[in-house]
Symmetry: C2
Subunit: 333 residues, 2 copies
Amino acid sequence: MKRIALGAACALLTAPPLAAQDEAPALSPADIVNAAPQSEWVVIAPEDMLVMTLAPGADGTERTVVIQLMPPPFSQGWVANIKRLAQTGWFDGTSINRVQDNYVVQWGDPGHDNPEGEGLEKKPLPSGLRTISEAEYTVSGEAFERLFARTGPTGAAGIQAVFDDDPYAGAAGYADGWPIGIEEDAVWPVHCYGMVGVGRNFSPDTGTGAELYTVIGHAPRHLDRNIALVGRIIGGMEHLSSLPRGSGALGFYAQDEADMRTPILSLRLASELPEEERPLYEYLATGTQTFARYVEARVNRRDLFFIAPAGGADICNVPVPVRPFVYDEPGNQ
Amino acid sequence: MKRIALGAACALLTAPPLAAQDEAPALSPADIVNAAPQSEWVVIAPEDMLVMTLAPGADGTERTVVIQLMPPPFSQGWVANIKRLAQTGWFDGTSINRVQDNYVVQWGDPGHDNPEGEGLEKKPLPSGLRTISEAEYTVSGEAFERLFARTGPTGAAGIQAVFDDDPYAGAAGYADGWPIGIEEDAVWPVHCYGMVGVGRNFSPDTGTGAELYTVIGHAPRHLDRNIALVGRIIGGMEHLSSLPRGSGALGFYAQDEADMRTPILSLRLASELPEEERPLYEYLATGTQTFARYVEARVNRRDLFFIAPAGGADICNVPVPVRPFVYDEPGNQ
């Protein structure tokens, strides 16, 4: 596979620190992102978002979590299963069953693959779920090139190798707004904070999508290529990351902690919600000049607080900016 | 500075995966650590631990946090200040003021350097606190060699460069049980999950130690060499990481969230507590054979769950094992 390198970002990464030449403090990464023109942001389609409504908090706080699903060609078998589970309302009435500090929050049927679930019945799955092969943890270069040839000029940025010193892959970078690992013959999504994956049992099981987790600590990159990643939390992450930790095996809530499982009231595709209830989010396109400047500023922090820019970074310390999209009525300028 | 490389670990890192030769599933990193002989564990001295008692949780749960302070030659100016603050009871009655998702929990005087602290008085600091130079964010090779020459044969492992592909430093590794960054002329502690640092204002301020934070997300390694690290959370981390996030600037609790600040009832050096109240913890010495095997197993996961070992890792994904020390009465074997 050819690596479609991001020329601009790579050049910037090796450029001398600008602060040596400038007197004014440099822009922070957030300043750079906030100055991006609207044309560099991509609004996320409602077909690519899940809305998970948790039971309200003890103080009555509403708790809504929004998940962006991965686009083709990544993990599409599991994504299709998850859409089917959402469309059949299968997750409604399940719960958050595992909160392991510095690792993951996991949700689904508490009676399924739960080391603390003794005595619980397993909730039957709907028909129509596919069994996915381990081969689909990664995407071949050809698959990506086929997709890229089809979508090429419409704005897809393709594969950008940015971090040549990634310890877990030949390189790490971005593909159309997602963090990826890159080898000669394959690419795959990587386990950064907030990424959503598919719980599974021992190989060759790959999970159906009925057990999902998100990362709430340091990136467990050793899971890359070992578990399917299907998306990322883009709203309400704090409702998951701040949940009380479970004291059972693997951070599952122990049998005497059953009342600590947070109920999931519903999990729906945003496109199946009434239009006024759909969340609106957008992400900064990773093929843009602003994104290249943002990467460079994260690698060499020169804003006011910093005295020693690192000169390097890791893929999970340079997250793709995602924010609520606020629709500006024409004439409201 | 000479790099005192960990020969055993480096050899193991390049050895072929053992699973190709063996039929039985490999030991997990946890299995390896659990099998370590007691002689490879180092009990932490009570002079090197802080005990922070938070107000009980809403359900009455006791919340005790234990912090291990960094040993010489790292950050000793700030460590001395923090010991003085603990000895004078200065932290008692302060609070946790900032909880920023995927970043830090920060505690101290809510009236000090708090963007949401308008109208609050600043709590006076005790006398005897030193102002520390930015030069002390790192330690020169000579300083480490001096210390090592003094303590050498008594069990200190010195500097072990393990990860040559660290993006933030020439290499990353361990020094006597702590994760560090390594360059030709200096070493420094690094910002992994659970590490404790000293909040500061803009340079040349370096902080006194009266504002402390810990990392609750992906390692913000860009802070290395920009802020002093003084220790790590070794007990009760979940009482910090699961706190509700603040909605004010930088994740501070906003002015209308003042009641969300968790009160700190006391913060004491363990050595100043009655002997029966002192926590007991131990860490796996990083110069041991077990630690080398543990690193290798984290780099190449071959235990039952894994199908694709990464062949690499980053320093913050290979934490030094720390556990409660349980004293075995002689004769209880």
